[in-house]
Amino acid sequence: MSLAAQAQTPAKPAAAKAAAAKTDTTRQPAKDTTAIIPVKDSVVHMQGGLRVGLDLSRIVTSIYYPYRKEGTAVADVRLNSNLYAAAEIGYTNTPHSDSNYTYKGSGMFISLGIDYNFLKRLYPSEKNMFFGGIRYGFSHLTYEVPTYKINDRYWGNNLTGSIPKTNVNAHWVELVLGLKAEVLKNFFLSWSLHERIMINNVKSDEFTPLVIPGFGSGSKKAVFDMRYTVSYLFPLYKITEHIKLPNDKDKKKKK
């Protein structure tokens, strides 16, 4: 179009043409000397490290359940782009006293497992997670009933007694579904739902522990729980991932 337009314009003076030829170098054809090598894949370095945190929901739990004094620390380590090794460790103290009986219980627990991030990252360094996981939980607890009383209104007798200190081990499997959001750099808030299924039997006719550390109610075979966790990621290493780029053939096929 521009050439045609130039052709139609009236001829300029020869002196002006010569001056223009001397100064205008941009219109000359550029020589491309670079060679384009097709890239088949790309390397992405993602932040890996140890993430440790505390479960804040146990504070709420201790308000609703005065007999459950619990503390839980959580940690995970990134194994590859989507897989994490996860662990939880905690302590529970269970003091209870009412007109029928007094109870003292305490114990520790640990759960180990993996989390898998299902969230498709928008950018390689994104750390937000929508994850599912599975854990094996183990708890060791000691409990005793220093005094109990059985009232009988008709006979007017009160039977009293005690149950000595008893040690119990509990094992369970735990399924987890949750979200982790990076709200500040390397600082995370997390919600997660937990379904725990007891493997062994800790119930007895004589007595059942009120609370199993890390599991929940001692009278149930399966419990549902949630956690609200704050955690910090200590960036310790990088995880390298090769991302395959679509090659020319794929591009053509898509077109």
Binding site: S57, V60, Y64, Y65, P66, Y67, H96, D98, N100, Y101, L119, N128, F130, Y148, K149, I150, D152, Y154, W155, N157, L159, G161, L177, G178, L179, A181, W191, L193, D205, E206, F207, T208, L210, S217, S219, F224, D225, M226, Y228
Partner: protein
């Protein structure tokens, strides 16, 4: 991400509200397992010299009075001249036997029922505390109005089952 987070947050709050049940505050189970006794009577009808038609059926006794006897002392009445077809007797949680007096009509001589049993302490729930279950061993009854006794169930851990049936004479 935000939508997912909101969904999970809602689920967690709901789950938390449902899960917030203080087990030590709720007692939704029966603390006492009473011994359940059913009354029956055989109304025999004579067909001929050799044939009798037996018809055993539940019966309502018109004026039932029941009380326990503890060390020879009559205790408070559990039933006082009430029409009953069954009675519930509380076994003593501190003794391995107990005696009850049963009068099914105010004009009749009362019978005594002596129960021997073993006791087992049982944790009922975190809210209820402890209770006692019983296993019946022996029943000894006088036969002023009672014809016979049948033990239906020896284990007394709830009052839902009939543990004993008393058959009365036709008076």
């Amino acid at each position: 991400m935000r939508t997912l987070y909101q969904i999970l947050l809602t689920c967690a709050v709901l789950a938390g509200m449902i899960a917030c049940e203080n087990e030590t505050k709720v007692c939704d189970q029966a603390l006492r397992a009473d011994f359940r006794v059913r009354f029956q009577r055989d109304s025999v009808r004579r067909i001929n010299d050799t044939t009798f038609l037996h018809n055993v059926r539940d019966t309502i006794m018109p004026k039932v009075s029941v009380y326990a006897i503890n060390n020879g002392v009559n205790m408070d009445s559990l039933y006082r001249r009430q029409p009953q077809k069954e009675i519930f007797l509380p076994f003593s949680p501190v003794a391995d036997s107990c005696i009850f007096a049963l009068r099914v009509d105010s004009t009749l001589t009362p019978d005594t029922l002596r129960f021997k049993y073993s006791r087992t302490k049982k944790f009922i729930s975190a809210g209820c505390g402890f209770g006692t279950t019983f296993t019946l061993d022996t029943v000894i009854a006088t036969r002023h109005t009672i014809d016979s006794v049948v033990i239906n169930s020896k284990v007394v851990n709830s009052s839902n089952d009939t543990h004993l049936t008393l058959f009365f004479f036709n008076l």
